[in-house]
């Protein structure tokens, strides 16, 4: 049976899992992960190596504690991970089958069901980082989008679409292009314009090759697998709708939606958005670069 904790479940969580910590930076967000065991810290350092920083004035603090044996009923075999967000009186809750997290301001209390299972613990930490990054971005003129972000000639090209659209495929076809992510890219508006930032969120490509950084955003491309390569400009409303459909954590939060909608509209009015019909060859890059060069 599903068990949705209330805030009290996080108020006196007892001892942390361990006393180790690390600090990472994603875009403009600095985040401290605390309460880690030596083994979880070691694995997290490996997973987030391009993002590690020595900055102890962290904006966000995530502390890990042991939790109940289960929270939500596990998904069926081969089913999607269950991840639900709820608004509580003074904060918000993110819950899955093997963890529950409570966020109040810049502090997250994360309780995990299987502290001895490093993979499960890292999965819980990763989902919490995604949650925090998505929310933090919206409050700082940015958003995250399910996409592959690739750097070419110093500019960022973002290829978005749902699972199976071809994010990992275009990443694999873009040899020599630094990878921002092949799963979730952070876009934010700076004084110099829109930039795309590297994130530690990986689909099938490993983290090791990543260098944390931000690059000027040159284009948004909705991926459509086809038997030819061509670009078709997306009318702005459609571009906004398609981009919004690829933004995670959009459901159940009116406040977030009200911030996200004008932000995505601004992005789509300042950055060209296209449908990219592509074959599984690197030839699509030629069309993109030709279009860009006029």
């Amino acid at each position: 049976m599903d068990w949705y904790p209330e805030a009290e479940h996080f108020e006196m969580p007892g001892s942390t899992l361990g006393d180790h910590s690390l600090v990472i930076r994603i875009g403009a967000l600095t985040l401290r992960l605390g309460g880690l065991t030596p083994l979880i810290k070691e694995m997290a350092e490996k997973q987030y190596s391009p993002f590690l920083v020595n900055d102890h004035s962290s904006a966000f603090l995530v502390t890990v504690y042991p939790g109940r044996p289960t929270y939500l009923k596990p998904p069926p075999p081969f089913g999607y991970l269950r991840l639900e967000e709820r608004q509580l009186e003074r904060g918000s809750l993110l819950v899955s089958n093997d963890f529950a997290a409570y966020r109040n301001g810049n502090t997250v209390t994360l309780r995990i069901s299987r502290p001895d299972d490093c993979k499960s613990a890292l999965g819980a930490i990763e989902n919490n980082i995604r949650w925090i990054v998505a929310d933090h971005a919206i409050n700082h003129r940015g958003f995250v989008i399910h996409s592959a972000g690739l750097v070419r000639n110093g500019g960022a090209y973002v290829f978005f679409g749902p699972s199976g659209a071809g994010k990992s495929t275009v990443t694999g076809l873009s040899e020599g292009c630094p990878i921002l992510s092949d799963d979730l890219v952070l876009l934010r508006k700076t004084q110099a314009g829109w930039v795309a930032a590297t994130t530690p969120f990986a689909g099938t490509f490993p983290q090791e090759g990543k260098t944390s950084g931000e690059y000027p955003l040159k284009g948004l491309f909705r991926l459509i697998q086809a038997d030819c390569d061509r670009l078709s400009p997306l009318p702005r409303a459609l571009a906004v709708g398609k981009v919004l459909s690829c933004c995670p954590f959009i459901g159940n939060r009116a406040k977030r939606q009200n911030l996200l909608l004008p932000l995505v509209e601004t992005c789509c009015s300042e950055i060209p958005a296209h449908d990219l019909f592509f074959r599984k060859t690197p030839a699509f890059w030629k069309i993109i670069l030709e279009t860009r060069n006029g």
């Binding site: 009318p235 702005r236 409303a237 459609l238 906004v240 709708g241 919004l244 459909s245 959009i250 459901g251 159940n252 939060r253 009116a254 939606q257 009200n258 996200l260 909608l261 004008p262 509209e265």
Partner: protein, 93 residues
């Protein structure tokens, strides 16, 4: 006497019209819909009588009044089924 029900926009649907097309986000599921020009016109003016909306659509586009009226009714039903429009008790005196 039973008071007639009044149709209102669901306050939990975030929306915005961009270059003549409305983009709607349904709060609970986070589902996104982009309406075409005619849908946007009806969405923005749904408080008006269906006959008036149909007359405006019929005049602007090459469709008969009957066809336009049928489409207006159909669209409003679809928006109700999707939860974007909902019925409430009419509080006007």
């Amino acid at each position: 006497m039973v008071e007639p029900l009044k149709l209102i926009r669901n306050p939990n649907v975030s929306w915005r019209t961009i270059e003549g097309q409305s983009v709607l986000i349904f709060n609970k599921e986070g589902e996104v819909q982009v309406l075409n020009e005619v849908g946007t016109y009806v969405w923005e003016h749904f408080e008006e009588k269906p006959e008036d909306l149909a007359a405006a659509i019929s005049e602007e586009y090459d469709v008969s009044m009957e066809e336009a009226l049928e489409d207006v009714h159909k669209f409003i039903e679809q928006m109700k089924a999707a939860g974007a429009l909902c019925e409430t008790e009419d509080e006007t005196p």
